[in-house]
Symmetry: D2
Subunit: 360 residues, 4 copies
């Protein structure tokens, strides 16, 4: 008979929809099948830094009603690199040792981290230093974690972005406007291209394809000339122009002060196409909300599978969805394969096939 | 037997959800019951200004599938006051006579305008000058048209704003943040207070109640002290501070450049409460989208009723929903009663009763 | 200074969306504004029958997250008339005295019952007998409580029924079918007529208007002849034919065994129109789910107002929404005015104006 | 330069969400990129049987607004096997030759059929006989087409079933009931198990795992004993008992008359657990409605890819989604691998890991 293990679980990085389903899955499996203890660590690794560690003992009853809840009831943070943790006095400090101490103080046998590639990399480094048995579950609305077909949070984000395009479509057509929807995606344009195709955008701008303002304006004019006096644009927050210009260096020049790329593009497009142009920055709305069924399913699958990896003693691994099966992938392999939109891949081909302008 | 009338119908001002239901209702009633002709005028009164007038003959088949469509398939505009219409050369011109001419050129017996109080006032002035038999249908996401319990578009806007609060709620709680949602409402805070109550906001700021920054920060601190490290704020775009400051005069000073009140408040709140604060500007998303069932019902009721008013020869009237009945109200009376949130009324009392801070 | 009161609150009858908002509203107001105690009575009046009474002390923290939750977290029942309560041995017993005893045993100053007209009538009878200070909050998906423009649960039910019609619309058109949606409404057809208009039904059958099979089939044939090979029908569960036939007496004859009116109609229509006909019984789905913003708002308004009535010492009253204000109505007056769909009223006129067949 | 091809496209079998996205994708690609002609064949193969064939010429403008529309605007049928087509006189006739004739009469170079495995098999047989260049696009809400990770319509069906469970959850808990949701899935339980996990069902019954009534009742009793007085069950329409009993042979015995398995189970469960039990048959609602973003994306990808296969001259193939890429699979291979839920696979393991009873 297997010994009774003590498992820590935490969520790290930006919140998204489906995190609670993963926590619930892990607790149901660990407590219900193996009779283990599960400790929910609060506020990402900060819960382990604290002395005493900040955690909640997790029972099945406590997590059972979490499926429809967005975000993470354990709390999370996307600030506070443990190796350079910002202190109240303005300095930074390496607090990785405190995390390791917290893990051992709680008598944990293993730690599940639900996070994106950044979180996985940092926590893995700490785990390697401190003898922490680590299992990772991928979550990212950007869908940029490699080695898995699905990460928690992406489907819900695409749903919300698509729904927003549906709404803007009607108001764009009613007013003969160009409507720009700015979505998240720091280095990968998955949300923009998936929602853009699903929501009928006419122009999709992603970080993987540098845009040319003239191409965008040509597309808008071409539509105007064929009697379509409106256009829908979806743009990832971090696109760059063919001339190397990004919203960051535009702002750095101090000549303009734009909150984001959307407003910058709007001004440019308005100038070149004379179309009334409006911007909507989707912002935090795309992270939250009741998870889509697919994100609840993905979270549940990953939560259960993470516990099974621990039962098998397979550590330093990430659970991964591949070809309708859940498998495990070494974390270094997973974070080594950053997943961006393939400019020659299926989605780009589909977008071009539909006549969508990709800015190039 | 009644003569066969020719009815023009147009939508004016900002688009919203439920306009198509009203057009459909009018066409079904006029064509199906009375065998009249209905002409859909395109782009608000601009369709009548043009020579020849820009219109679409409307048959039942053409409008039958419009119930789930947001916006207005006739197009609209919220620029272009006919009495001071902006011309390409930069001047303005009084084009009201052209509208009157267009009405008569089309041989119309009556004109239905679906619009807010601004549109009703302008079109009424033209109608009075030019012998136009006018019937009005109230639409406004701001819910600020007087003399009617319901206007087209408000319910959908409240639904979208509430759904957004639901989403922000999860991400605020996950990250211990103050989340600010900026919604529309130039002079009336109906969207903010209705969605704020329905979506569980902790602070609701409306134009009808001047806010005091200290009250807001006190509420946030009070929540923090009781262990609630997050707060949700919903704010109408046009609120003003007790000291008379509005986002317009803040911008006019040139000292800061804020897109809207949300970002301005965020900076102030961040300074006073030290809470991580984020802003979402809901923007055009709240106008569009598939109409709520209630907006489809309201549109349908008003569309049918507008035709019945014409059949009775009752002009210069607005259809109105009062106490589960549709009645008619003289347009001057309707636009004379601008409907703001009553600071002593049911909604404010409810908000206070729930412990919501209203900024005062 | 006002004494500290003890308030009991219970939900009675079929569950619906928005009940939790009302409980939350009452608790926030009573605890937050007046510093009273609120006891949540479980399982309707059964919680008071039990000895000791079955209740939960309600604090603001406990109810704060309930806004998005459907149903009632206090539990409810729509069986078990206290005056003829079914006992395990098959007999019935008058248990009203036990309810009265429970109320006094808990030391309550007042009782809030959230229920429909049936529940209000029964609980009022008990209250009159036993010196219970009663305040009622109207809830009913059927919208049949008189003397108020809104009851909790109706808006959500209409939303769900309309959404279902939207879905059936596409599949009906794709397959050239007649689709029948059977919805709730034992004596009032409010759900059917509101959702029917909003969802574009071609035929709406309500209990208030006896239907004639021939009229229905004529409408379907007329559509077929004009090239529309599909029709959408929405029917209240308790409609009756012009010949007095209802699904109850059809079943009683034992000649056919129909679960509900929908299937019976389908067979009749299939026979007369030769159209492929399918039935969907919406069932319990229309009760549950996250409440619509309007039901959350209505629940919140009523919950706060019920406490204010108690503070004023106004008992034997129901809170009521009238003309954008919340008022109080004597319970006998409210339950005396059963609210059905007015066959000469706005909704029926609108339906006829749209060319919808009402079965007559 | 490539010759201008003429492509026929049709939808066959039960309708679902995302069909219009596939048609739109094919038209945009064929017309926009290759300048080919596309003919939309109406009512599945019946449009080719007719003389003259029943079709609509498809232009980009005609399909552009179809993304949010459920069903198929070309119409479809799931009756009428062309090899034994039911004639008005009650006989059946082999009408495959007429379909072949119709194809050639229209001068088509290739035919795209959007259908499930049954439709693919039948149309392929005709194509083989008649020199039809066939390309297939998989659609099925049951997700039972082999050789592809995704088929059109499944995601939307799962969303609707999950949302229904969410709603039933609240009403079950409010009333201490067992709620049974019967969903589609004639031979494969994908909808039931996916929605069951996502929607928090306590018992999931699928055709791939024979159920034992005792196991089900034990689960319900176990929950009751631990204080959970309600249970949610989701059941595929075609499950069978361990004793070999299915709803079909139950009905055949003539002893009971059940519309479906749901009601039969309810009676059994009510008898064994004494819990109040209610059934909801989801029915046609799960087919229709606005497609989920994922189904719109899948349809768009497949529509474009089908045209590209034709451009390459690859016929007798089905487009398939595998590992984030679109590939082609020989139709015989695709229909040879009927995809059911793997009783040892990821989803079953996840369900068991969550403590869900699978009836065995």
């Amino acid at each position: 008979m297997q010994e009774q293990k003590r498992i820590g679980i935490l969520t790290s990085g930006g919140d998204c929809a489906g995190l609670n389903a993963a926590i619930r899955g892990a607790v149901c499996r660990a407590v219900g099948s193996y009779n283990w203890k599960v400790l929910g660590i609060r506020q990402a690794t900060m819960g382990l830094m604290n002395s005493p560690p900040d955690f909640i003992p997790l029972e099945i009853d406590k997590v059972d009603e979490l499926l429809i809840m967005g975000g993470t009831f354990l709390g999370t943070t996307n600030t506070g690199d443990p190796f350079a943790f910002p202190m109240p006095d303005g300095t930074t400090r390496d607090r990785s040792a405190e995390i390791i101490a917290g893990y051992h103080q709680l008598g944990l046998d293993a730690l599940i981290v639900i996070g994106g590639d950044g979180s996985m990399e940092i926590v893995r480094k700490i785990a390697q230093q401190g003898g922490i048995n680590l299992v990772a579950i991928p979550k990212t609305i950007d869908n940029d974690v490699g080695s898995t077909e699905r990460s928690i949070g992406f489907d819900t984000a695409v749903n919300i972005a698509t729904e927003s395009l549906d709404r803007l479509h009607f108001t764009a057509a009613s007013h003969n406007r160009v409507m720009i929807l700015e979505v998240m995606g720091r280095d990968a344009g998955h949300i923009a291209i998936s929602a853009g195709i699903a929501g009928g955008a006419h122009i999709i701008l992603i970080p993987e394809i540098a845009y040319n303002l003239e191409s965008i304006c040509n597309k808008i004019r071409e539509r105007q000339e064929s009697g379509k006096n409106y256009s829908l644009i979806i743009v990832s927050e971090a696109v760059k122009a063919e001339n190397g210009e990004t919203i960051k260096n535009i702002n750095r020049l101090g000549q303009t002060r734009y909150g984001g790329i959307g407003q910058y593009l709007a001004d440019q497009i308005c100038a070149c196409s004379r179309a009334e142009t409006r911007v909507t920055v989707l912002g935090h709305i795309q992270r939250g909300g009741t998870p889509s069924p697919l994100d609840r399913l993905t979270g549940s699958v990953f939560g259960v599978a993470a516990i099974d990896l621990i039962a098998e003693g397979k550590y330093d691994c990430m659970v991964s969805w591949q070809n309708r099966q859940v498998v495990s992938v070494p974390i270094p392999e997973a974070i080594g394969k950053y997943s961006t939109v393939d400019p020659e891949g299926m989605l780009v081909k589909t977008a071009r096939g539909l006549g969508i302008c990709l800015g190039d």
